[in-house]
């Protein structure tokens, strides 16, 4: 370091310290901050431009600030509003109206993982959504807040179950067989995966751990999309990172907010099946072809039941939140209470959740020690409906009644043989499936952290940071089926079921590190460096119980071998980042993370994940500085390596023996012995590696009236986990579940436009549009990809037959392409049953020999469009989404769109069919016909909302009213209930409700 620079570093702070008293001649500025509708904005920050001095508005939006005499401008900002600079003027009170909007705010601080930067200094692909822009209406979990809001982030809710999870894919598929879900980080704490390896919720007793966090407590959700941003999360970052920041205390006096919502959900669309009269007509016609053969038609009843009508209900949901925010002496606080009570549209489905949030952000030691304490707690009780009722309601004979008073099945009509014995293979009364099934789950969870940031005295800009985080969740529940219920009548030793489960999750994270942020004005440089050590440990303890019949006798063979099954994994990381800015024009970011994971053998345990990014703020160059229409222009490029290990079981590399279960004993003599079995193991296993390149442009035009970004990325995923056949006899399985062998490429283009076409005194129109194009191509699956007999990995199990798959992974094709037979159509345009193209020209048609790859469930093009109109006190918002080029296999029609088994299944009961039998005319099911692969492109109006700001009711209370409709309409060619099916196989999806919500928000 040259002596001059060293001098600068040492002397400059001293000069500043000396200068401070000299500036201490002050005057007072007062004012009021309101939003576009004139309502006071509490908690807005008012800072003297060019200094750290500032104040925060109170509950009435008012502030008082001592400013230096020389100061001329204050900067007013609040999350979700455009920052405004206002001249201080002659001392008259300032009246400031902040405009809402998603428009780029270059000084807005964006969290990037282990730190935050100003938006103008971002070098990676990072998208941030503030509370103002969240989806409105009935929202149960955080992921639903940003659906359709961010380019490159595809969020598909998994049906309408209360609190159900969503499938989130950031920039396409991160993996084929490993983890595909993003990493969640809440207030700096990296959370453990939300799902277990089998796809079920990682917290028992709840459908989705993310739904345990109150969405009303969330202030901002930021998504890291490229490797430059994700690499700081190393071996957990490859599927993208979602960073959630909770609301913190602001202002002075306590500001209370109470908001309440009432939602009514209805079924938007039902499966088209034969009505009772259509069914009778069908049966009559069948009888004509075989006169006198009444063995089947005799089974018909005399009722007319719409079974789908019987299982769905109009669901009522209430959501109430009370929060208080303010600063007590030197303690900023945000406290919240929430209560959410949600019914599912499937009868008996229910979720009740209470949440509490405590967020304290005090400072000590003259602001040298900043402390952040976040505590989020929740208690939930769920009743899970038996979703088997959805399928049975579609296929149950519509001529049968719901009830048969006094019968042995608790009064529900069921299929019996002539002797009155229940037919086990028959479809079951859907209403009985719901009402005679009580699955109740309870969970209590808490996520929180204590964050210390200590400004090390003597070294300007150096902060020592310590963070202790935890995520503890305990869940338990029971599944109870009464003895007279047909669904468990054949259980042994006795009928009925009583089953319990319990699981405790304990996750801790510890981070220690240093942060060094300094401006070196003399050399026009800014340095932001960070080094951190991180330790996380996730312990999940599942309790094993026997299953009981209704009389609490143990069900055969279900007594557990082990009382608990704990599973634990640890990740230790060393990470660092340097952000260097020169002259506010050139920004270099470099990160490095070294991860050690307990999931891998010592030889494969550690891995380095580097990244680097460069950004050039072109608009800061002299030749553009005076171009008035160009507010901002930045060109970015990044490259980085991330890993993916969350989809890998914890101990896969270790050779083990374990005892089997008590229904898998073997008899020697008169005694039964448990099986001590060797497990297959794979010592070479390691994480998947994603190398990604990103090129982006951020732009702002006309004083940021139009802003946004354009991105192009190319991701090469190697060491891709695949489940591959290994030489039979070489290990204790023939199919290794996880081998690092494949590779895949994702690339795409993202475009975001935020605009304010109209900005007037009374009327504002904001809109935001995002466009995503993505292409996925598998480049390697096995070492035998070229072998003629290797068709690819068949995946995508369907309902119908045993073990039938409808999709295939093939090199050179998009993941999960449908693998089907090419249907031949007759002159009348109808498919000819059983007639398919003989693609291999060998004279016979067989599957998979004649199958071809036809379309994929993943849309190459998706778009989101949001718009907000503000007029006086009124606001109108709408959120739409479009998906183009996604296909869905209509498994409902392929399974129930054939006539043969309506009457003649030979098993003593009748079934219903979908009305597609009138279109296809199929007698036997044609599972592999491409007739069932349908174009499921769609346009959805997700959300339509209207708000009215009543304003101040009196000097202390202001009120805001709103009404919303979610899932308003869908335009699609797809003939099933809903074209939005994540994996492209439509098989009894829980319908997404159409929700109508009214709400009120009270500030006092």
């Amino acid at each position: 370091m040259k002596w001059r620079q060293l001098l600068t570093i040492c002397v400059l702070p001293c000069l500043l310290l000396l200068a401070a008293p000299a500036l201490a001649q002050n005057r007072t500025v007062t004012g009021k901050v309101t939003d576009a509708t004139g309502a006071p904005l509490a908690g807005a920050s008012v800072v003297v431009k060019g200094s750290k001095r500032g104040a925060v508005t109170d509950a009435n939006g008012k502030f008082t600030l001592q400013v230096p005499v020389a100061a001329t401008t204050v900067v007013i900002s609040w999350v979700g509003y455009r920052t405004q600079e206002v001249a201080i003027g002659d001392g008259a009170p300032l009246d400031i109206s902040l405009q809402p909007g998603a428009n780029a705010n270059l000084n807005e601080v964006v969290v990037i993982g282990y730190g935050a930067v100003q938006k103008k200094d971002l070098t990676g692909a990072v998208s941030s959504v503030n509370a103002k822009d969240f989806q409105q209406g009935a929202i149960t979990s955080a992921d639903q807040l940003i659906q359709g809001k961010v380019a490159g982030v595809a969020i598909t809710t998994n049906g309408g179950q209360p609190g159900n999870s969503s499938t989130i894919r950031i920039r396409g598929l991160a993996s084929l067989n490993g983890n595909q879900d993003p990493l969640y980080v809440i207030d700096g704490v990296e959370l453990p995966p939300m799902k277990k390896l089998d796809g079920t919720s990682s917290v028992s007793g709840t459908a989705n751990p993310l739904s345990l966090m109150n969405p009303d407590d969330i202030e901002n959700i930021t998504i890291l999309k490229d490797a430059s941003a994700e690499a700081i999360y190393g071996s957990r970052g490859a599927a993208g990172v979602i960073i959630i920041t909770t609301k913190k205390g602001r202002g002075g006096k306590p500001v209370f907010n109470f908001n309440t919502q009432l939602t009514v959900g209805t079924v938007a669309k039902r499966v088209q099946v034969l009505s009772a009269s259509q069914y009778r007509a069908f049966a009559a016609k069948d009888l004509e072809t075989t006169p006198g053969d009444t063995i089947y038609t005799d089974l018909m009843g005399s009722a007319s039941t719409d079974w789908q009508k019987q299982i769905y209900q109009t669901a009522v949901t209430t959501n109430d939140n009370l929060s208080v925010s303010g600063v007590a002496k030197h303690l900023p606080y945000h406290l919240s209470l929430g209560y959410h009570d949600e019914q599912g549209i499937l009868k008996t489905d229910k979720l009740q959740r209470g949440t509490v949030g405590i967020h304290l952000t005090p400072s000590f030691l003259h602001n040298h020690l900043k402390v952040e304490l976040n505590l989020n707690g929740s208690l939930s009780k769920s009743r899970f409906a038996n979703q088997g009722a959805i399928g049975d309601a579609i296929s149950f004979d519509p001529t049968q009644p719901v009830y048969q008073p006094g019968n042995k099945f608790g009064g529900y009509w069921q299929w019996t043989d002539k002797t009155g014995t229940f037919i086990p293979l028959a479809t079951q009364n859907p209403v009985a499936l719901l009402e005679q099934y009580n699955s109740t789950g309870y969970s209590s969870s808490s996520i929180g952290n204590l964050h210390l940031n200590y400004e090390v005295p003597g070294v300007d800009g150096l902060h020592a940071i310590a963070d202790w985080g935890y995520d503890v969740a305990n869940g338990h529940g029971t599944v109870v089926i009464p003895p007279n219920a047909a669904q468990a009548i054949n259980n042994s030793p006795g009928p009925g079921q009583w089953q319990q489960y319990k699981q405790n999750n304990t996750y801790v994270s510890v981070n220690y590190g240093f942060n060094y942020i300094r401006d070196f004005k003399a050399i026009k440089s800014n340095l932001n460096a960070m080094a951190t050590y991180s330790y996380t440990n996730n312990l999940i303890t599942t309790y094993n119980y026997a299953n009981f019949d209704a009389a609490h006798d143990t069900i055969s063979g279900s007594a557990p071998t082990y009382l608990t099954s704990p599973t634990e994994n640890t990740l230790i990381s060393y990470l660092g980042r340097v952000i260097y800015t020169y002259d506010q024009k050139y920004i270099l970011t470099a990160t490095l993370r070294d991860d050690g994971s307990s999931r891998f053998s010592p030889a494969n345990r550690w891995g380095l994940f580097p990244s680097a990014a460069l950004a050039w703020r072109v608009s800061q160059e002299d030749f553009l500085k005076n171009t008035r229409w160009l507010t901002d222009l930045k060109i970015r490029g990044s490259y980085g390596v991330t890993g993916n290990q969350d989809g890998i079981p914890n101990y896969e590399y270790i050779p083990t023996y374990s005892l089997g279960t008590n229904n898998s004993l073997y008899q020697f003599g008169d005694k039964f012995y448990p099986l001590y079995s060797p497990a297959a193991y794979f010592p070479n296993l390691r994480w998947e590696t994603t190398k990604s390149t990103n090129i982006g442009i951020d732009y702002g035009l006309f004083n940021n009236r139009i802003s946004g970004s354009i991105e192009y990325y190319y991701k090469n995923i190697s060491n891709l986990l695949n489940s591959i056949y290994i030489p039979v006899g070489s290990n204790f399985t023939n199919l290794a579940p996880y081998i690092n062998i494949g590779s895949m490429v994702d690339h795409g283009v993202e475009l975001t436009v935020n605009a304010t076409p109209i900005k007037g005194k009374n009327f504002t129109w904001d809109l935001s549009y995002n466009f995503t194009y993505l292409k996925n191509r598998i480049t390697k699956l096995t070492n035998q990809d070229q072998s003629a007999s290797f068709v690819g990995d068949q995946v995508g199990g369907i309902g119908g037959g045993t073990g039938n798959d409808i999709q295939v992974q093939t090199v050179g094709y998009t993941a999960n392409s449908f693998f089907v037979l090419q249907q031949i159509y007759g002159k009348n345009g109808k498919p000819i049953e059983g007639l398919y193209a003989d693609r291999d020209r060998n004279g016979t048609v067989s599957y998979p020999a004649d199958a071809y790859r036809y379309k994929s469930p993943f849309a190459p093009v998706t778009m989101g469009f949001s718009s907000t109109f503000n007029y006086m006190r009124w606001s109108l918002t709408l959120v739409t989404r479009a998906s183009i080029g996604n296909y869905v296999y209509n498994n409902i029609n392929s399974g129930l769109g054939a006539t043969k088994y309506i009457l003649h299944n030979g098993l003593g009961y009748l079934s219903n069919a979908t009305t597609d039998i009138y279109n296809s005319g199929f007698v036997n099911p044609q599972y592999f016909s491409d007739y069932y692969v349908q174009n499921a492109s769609f346009f959805k109006l997700d959300n339509l909302g209207i708000g009215y700001n009543v304003g101040n009711l009196n000097s202390h209370v202001s009120l805001r009213l709103n009404a919303n409709c979610q899932n308003v309409f869908v335009i699609t060619k797809y003939t099933g209930v809903d074209p939005e099916v994540y994996n492209g196989i439509d098989n009894n999806l829980y319908p997404r409700p159409r929700n109508f919500t009214i709400g009120a928000s009270l500030n006092f």
């Binding site: 086990p424 293979l425 055969s556 898998s664 056949y725 030489p727 039979v728």
Partner: protein, 518 residues
């Protein structure tokens, strides 16, 4: 400034030291598991490991009926007997299946290829059983037992070797040529390729070496469901009977020798044929030599006799009448060739005809073709086992005395020495007498084939029998829907062997595909 740097450096240094100690936490060990050597540190552990070697035949996994040891096949269909049954019965005149499940229709059509998922399962299951036996033998070598524990372990190891020989004998019969791996190879070794004739030599030499005194427990002296010395003889007799098919060299004299060893070991025919296939066939069964033991409560899976019994119930049959009140899957029936073999009144002709047509107009319709109730989950007294719903307690006899009678008779008829025609006739007639039908006065080879059909139908013997008699693929003997044609048709002779699965050929470079499947 320097001072601060020093402080920071020192602080960082101490900090790093404290962190290094944490990296030990990356060695997480799975709970509820142990190592191979730990298992074999106690006699109880060794016996539970032996239970796995046997259990691998009976179950799809050691963790319940919905899990599977194998991949690429539906777990419920991946047990040994179900797969073997599909391959050796559905491909013959003895059975058709209504289901359109992957791979199933190929069998009756005699038109399978190397992608058939059931054949993949059968191949992988059989070799999986070999790897489990190999691991047992490997780990047992490290056990340090004394006294009777040591003697027991010696028997366990011999039983594991016998089961492995049985597996290879099945590979030799089904696929002919096979991947080959023994306890000499550590886990991870890619198996070599062994030709059918070499496999015969291996199996024969293994069995002969196990025939030495004391290697296995003497005939009829072991615990139920464990192999004894008679099993070795019974398997030798079986492979010698088929030796001409396997190697081109007939070994009928050897077949007679070993069949006689079994016959003279003290087994007797059960007086009731039907009791051999009932839920209590594990007790008071003087005829059984070696069975796979199932139990509806303790040994649950969707294959084995659970599959055979449930899949055979459909149409107007009432599942509870056969001991499976929660079952009845409506799949398997017989072709008309099988009932037509029987004289009227044969007690072995256990067919269900009410509502069933003898002819099969449509394979997919259960009521086409007679059903059979030979296999049941009721006990010999007609009782349903406690707790029965779907899972069955009926054991599957891999070897029973009647087969040794028939081996003796056939080997004599085919020119083997060491036996005589009168004894042969007597053995066959003992079976006919038990069936309650007229004894033969003289035997022809056709009588042997027919008698085997009547005696052993649905016991996984038929395919080997038809091949040995040269009529499995040829047009000289037809049955309804043979070759996928309702009147039956011959197919190419390469179908006498099953193909090695394409998936294994793709991953194991040592293997070669069987003739006709490339």
């Amino acid at each position: 400034m320097k001072r601060y740097f020093l402080t920071i450096a020192a602080g960082l240094g101490m900090f790093s030291v404290s962190l290094v100690s944490c990296t030990g936490k990356l060695n997480r060990q799975p709970a509820n598991t142990t190592t191979g050597s730990n298992v074999f540190s106690t006699p109880a552990g060794a016996k539970e490991a032996l239970a796995k070697v046997y259990g691998a035949f009976a179950l799809t996994s050691s963790t319940g009926p919905s899990n599977g040891d194998l991949g690429g096949i539906d777990a419920g269909t991946s047990d040994f007997i179900r797969l073997l049954w599909d391959a050796s019965e559905l491909s013959t005149d003895e059975a058709v299946c209504a289901w359109n499940d992957p791979g199933v229709p190929d069998f009756h059509n005699l038109n399978w290829n190397s992608s058939n998922v059931i054949l993949l399962g059968l191949y992988a299951r059989t070799i999986y059983q070999v790897t489990v036996a190999n691991a047992f033998i490997q780990n047992a070598a490290g056990a340090n037992f004394t006294g009777s524990d040591k003697t027991d372990l010696g028997h366990y190891v011999a039983e594991a070797r016998f089961l492995r020989a049985f597996d290879y004998a099945e590979m030799m019969d089904l696929f002919g040529n096979s991947p080959f791996i023994t306890d000499k190879d550590p886990v991870g070794t890619v198996p070599t390729y062994i030709k059918r004739a070499d496999l015969f030599t291996y199996v024969e030499s293994e069995l002969k070496s196990l025939d030495s005194a004391g290697a296995l427990v003497a005939a009829r002296q072991n615990e139920y469901a464990r192999a004894d010395q008679a099993c070795v003889w019974a398997l030798l007799a079986r492979i010698y009977l088929n030796a001409e098919v396997y190697t081109g060299t007939a070994r009928y004299t050897d077949a007679i020798t070993y069949a006689l060893k079994v016959i003279n070991a003290g087994y007797t025919l059960d007086t009731s044929y039907s009791n051999l296939f009932r839920a209590d066939n594990n007790v008071n069964n003087p005829e059984q030599i070696f069975s796979i033991a199932y139990d509806g409560v303790n040994t649950q899976n969707y294959g084995g006799t659970t599959f055979i019994i449930n899949a055979a119930i459909g149409g107007s049959m009432k599942p509870a009448n056969y001991g499976v009140p929660g079952g009845g899957w409506g799949g398997n029936r017989v072709t008309s060739n099988l009932p037509n073999l029987f004289q009227s009144g044969d007690k072995r002709a256990l067919f269900y005809t009410s509502g069933q047509t003898e002819a099969i107009a449509d394979i997919g319709t259960f009521t086409n073709g007679y059903a059979t109730v030979k296999w049941q989950n009721l006990t010999s007294t007609g009782a349903t086992p406690a707790g029965a719903s779907t899972f069955c307690s009926t054991d599957f006899p891999l070897f029973r005395l009647a087969e040794q009678y028939m081996i003796y008779a056939e080997a004599v008829l085919r020119g083997g020495s060491g036996g005589d025609a009168t004894t042969a006739l007597g053995y066959v007639n003992a079976l006919r007498t038990r069936g309650g039908v007229t004894p033969y006065t003289a035997l022809t080879l056709q009588d042997i084939l027919d008698e085997r059909g009547m005696e052993f139908y649905w016991e996984c013997q038929r395919r080997s029998d038809l091949i040995r008699f040269g009529v499995f693929t040829s047009g000289s003997y037809l049955w309804p829907w043979k070759g996928g044609v309702s009147s039956g048709t011959g197919v190419d002779s390469h179908f006498n062997l099953f193909p090695l699965p394409a998936t294994d050929l793709n991953t194991n470079p040592n293997l070669q595909q069987n003739l006709g499947y490339n």
